[in-house]
Symmetry: C2
Subunit: 122 residues, 2 copies
């Protein structure tokens, strides 16, 4: 496998804002058939991430507000990261997606463990 | 990478039964920090799969009963499947985990796209 970079795998990220509801984020997860929603401000700056796992935690705990389930310390990657580095970050933090950001913290897209799995070919 | 088989990657699967509640399955997903729960009968035969995505769908739709969100037609793999074959199945069906079953349909464990991503090393 010649060395590939995250840039080759970036897909558009489904986003939401902090003042959305848990139900509206859940609807977006289902409508787009994804597991990860990146929380951004009105200038598309990264504010956090919320996933189907977090929505499930809200069901387990009876949490009602989106801001209570948003993960704030987000592990990210950049377009010029080698694929192996993105895979290492996912494994190290036991997570399944990395928002791709530019040097100013703007969200460019996302890369998931499902996207990386597609590289495993005969 | 020499050819590896699913057997090398199997991890124990979190399971539930059909008469569990959505809330109790959500609690199990959070307690074990996983996204997939395999539905089995009392002899550990495969009955379906429920994921954090399905719990999120229940939130989106207002569904109250576990049996309404269980996926019945489950894509599975076997211990002697080559890793590339498991990766192909995940990509083909847009899913992120495969229950591993024996020839009698007994659940031996599970393999996820997160486990496969760990194979992508420098
Ligand atoms: C620790 S993982 C455990 C379950 C499973 N490994 C998964 O990725 O869904 C679940 C948590 O990871 C968080 N998470 C997902 N992607 C993340 C990222 N790139 N950076 C930080 N946290 C992230 C989610 O918000 C959620 O609270
Ligand atoms: C089609 S995927 C779409 C979202 C994302 N790709 C994921 O895997 O979570 C979500 C659905 O796949 C189902 N699913 C997960 N693993 C499965 C498997 N091995 N066989 C059949 N369906 C599965 C879940 O029950 C859920 O209804």
């Amino acid at each position: 496998r010649e060395l590939a970079f995250v840039e080759a795998l970036i897909r558009p990220s489904i986003t939401c804002s902090e003042d959305d509801t848990i139900k509206s984020v859940a609807e977006r997860i289902i409508r787009h058939s994804v597991n990860h929603v990146v929380v951004v401000d009105n200038r598309r700056k990264l504010r956090g991430i919320v996933t189907s796992w977090d929505v499930t935690k809200a069901v387990a705990d009876g949490t009602k507000k989106l801001v209570e389930i948003i993960t704030r310390k987000v592990v990210t990657t950049s377009p010029d990261d080698p694929i192996e580095e993105a895979a290492r970050k996912l494994a190290q933090h036991n997570i399944s997606a990395l928002p791709v950001t530019d040097k100013n913290g703007k969200v460019l897209g996302i890369v998931t463990s499902e996207d990386l799995t597609k590289l495993i070919r005969r």
